[in-house]
């Protein structure tokens, strides 16, 4: 393997990681900070992608598509919070699991009902398409660089909001003791609606951005959902920095694992067994990583120790 290929693969790993972070960003708010297990997060991601695809299809404008994704998912988020989630904060994780599982069913089939059963089209806008050459002679799709930028920007913004602003402090206080922060005069319900729909908007944005290079279809949110949970848990719930590092770790493990595990195994067995065992190991790799990290540090890399 040449050095350039290795470098490119590492870059791919990082890029995949940041893309995961982009997808996990909204969940970091809702799950990481507000402490709500929202399985329907993947649906919000899907709603973003679908509304972007629909608007892009009608207007041909990517900017309008992104705006549509933001609005639609934020609105869906606010609605869901007001009608359902609001009644779940005081209940335990299990009720949250069941209710948001129900929401997945409703959203997935609802989307299929509106948009039909076939995948939708959403493509990269022309100015951002095609590869650019970056130092080191690597050709890299421009759009992916844009995704990296968006991911980093959002992570910094979120980190700042949660750790430094008063709103961030209040949300975290609400996560510890909702009743008490309300008794101190903070409209925590309103605040949570706001944050939830912000989280939803981020999910929708990610859906639209990532949807342009993946397939926009019903059910696209669930695999992402699991990965996003993995990322957040590895980093430690509640920590934005953790989520970012978790995302990078997962991205690198996944990318490099699928390349190197088969190669490594080729040293000991014949090539075709090696590729098959290697790639099955590599699909397990991130879960093995997560398991190992949690066994080593039971509250993730940057989680608060109990």
């Amino acid at each position: 393997m040449t050095f350039v290929l290795l470098a490119e693969q590492i870059l791919n790993g990082i890029q995949f990681g940041i893309m995961l972070f982009l997808m996990a960003a909204g969940l970091t708010l809702i799950f990481g900070v507000m402490g709500l297990i929202n399985l329907a997060h993947g649906s919000l991601y899907m709603i973003g992608a679908f509304s972007a695809a629909a608007v892009a299809g009608m207007t041909g404008s990517f900017i309008l598509a992104l705006l549509a994704a933001l609005t639609a998912s934020a609105a869906a988020g606010a609605l869901v919070e007001l009608l359902v989630i609001r009644r779940l904060y005081n209940k335990d994780h299990l009720d949250q699991v069941l209710a948001t599982f129900a929401l997945i069913l409703i959203f997935s089939e609802g989307t299929r009902w509106i948009f039909g059963s076939f995948p939708l089209f959403l493509d990269i806008p022309d100015p951002l398409s095609g590869p650019v050459t970056i130092p080191g002679g690597i050709q890299y799709p421009l759009y992916r660089l844009v995704l990296i930028g968006a991911g980093l920007f959002i992570s910094i913004g979120l980190g700042f909001m949660i750790t430094k602003t008063r709103i961030g402090i209040q949300i975290r206080a609400g996560e510890n003791d909702r009743e008490m922060i309300a008794a101190l005069g903070i409209n925590i319900s309103g605040l949570y609606t706001l944050i939830f729909s912000l989280g939803a908007a981020l999910a929708g944005l990610a859906g639209a951005l990532v949807g342009a290079i993946q397939s926009v279809q019903v059910g696209m949110g669930e695999p992402v959902l699991i990965l996003a949970f993995v990322v957040i848990v590895i980093g430690g719930i509640g920590s934005i920095k953790g989520a970012l590092i978790g995302a990078l770790l997962v991205g690198l493990t996944d990318t490099l694992g699928s390349i190197f595990l088969p190669e490594l195994l080729k040293l000991v067995t014949d090539p075709s067994t090696a590729t098959s065992i290697g790639s099955s190991l590599s699909s397990m790799a991130i879960y093995i990583l997560m398991g190992a990290i949690l066994i080593w540090r039971p509250t993730g890399l940057f989680g608060i120790k109990p």
Binding site: R172, A173, I181, L184, I186
Partner: protein
């Protein structure tokens, strides 16, 4: 004019009723003691005032009917609570606990640190790892930071060292005499209550059984309802 007025307030936890008719009245600038044995409904009364427990009857604060108001709006009218059991935000630092619900006014972070220097020393420590007494100071500081018109202290001296306890009592007097803050205190130290409070309300099994000026709370009443 009375600042806080409860008339015939009753409340339940699910199926079990805790309050059966509490009457209570605090005038602007008054310091009142809420007394009674363990489990008689003192804290439940406080929860009703702060709208953390739904209740029937009437609760007026600063001329407004707050009986059905959501908790945060009642608090915004100027009720500051130091709850039983402290309830600090455990994953927040001391500083964050204090500024979380800050309202503009007399009290600010610097003033609180003046009052409890220990909190200044622990500024960036997480509340969960504070000692019991430190958490108590934090809870008091946090309530003051909302610059309330009525401060409610539910067993605020529990677990405090005698020296600090004296300090808290002197803070209470200071708040009373210097800025005329209205205060509702629940505490077990009769001696301090007598020296600071203007009036007393005694509840038994969720019912107001005695209320009046503190100086009128004689030995008979104390023995009958408080067991001293």
């Amino acid at each position: 004019m009375s600042l806080l007025q409860l008339s015939d307030v009753s409340a339940s936890y699910g199926a079990s009723q805790a309050l059966f008719g509490v009457d209570l009245d605090i005038a602007e600038g008054q310091v009142a003691a809420l007394m009674g044995r363990n489990g008689m409904g003192k804290s439940s009364t406080v929860k009703c005032i702060c709208r953390m427990l739904p209740s029937s009857g009437h609760i007026f604060f600063a001329g407004q009917d707050i009986t059905n108001m959501p908790s945060h709006r009642a608090a915004r009218l100027g009720i500051g609570l130091v709850p039983e059991g402290r309830r600090c935000f455990k994953d927040l630092s001391v500083y964050e606990n204090l500024v979380a619900a800050q309202q503009a006014g007399l009290w600010n972070f610097a003033k609180i640190v003046d009052l409890f220097p220990r909190l200044g020393e622990r500024e960036s420590q997480l509340a969960a790892s504070l000692s019991g007494g430190e958490q108590q100071m934090l809870a008091i500081g946090r309530a003051l930071m909302t610059n309330p018109r009525l401060l409610i202290l539910d067993e605020a001296t529990e677990g405090l060292a005698p020296l600090i306890r004296q300090e808290i009592w002197s803070v209470i007097s200071k708040l009373k005499y210097d800025i005329g803050l209205s205060i509702l205190v629940i505490d077990k130290s009769l001696k301090e209550l007598r020296s600071v409070c203007d009036k007393a309300v005694v509840i038994e099994r969720g019912l107001t059984v005695w209320s009046g000026q503190m100086k009128d709370l004689n030995q008979d009443v104390a023995e009958k309802y408080l067991g001293v």
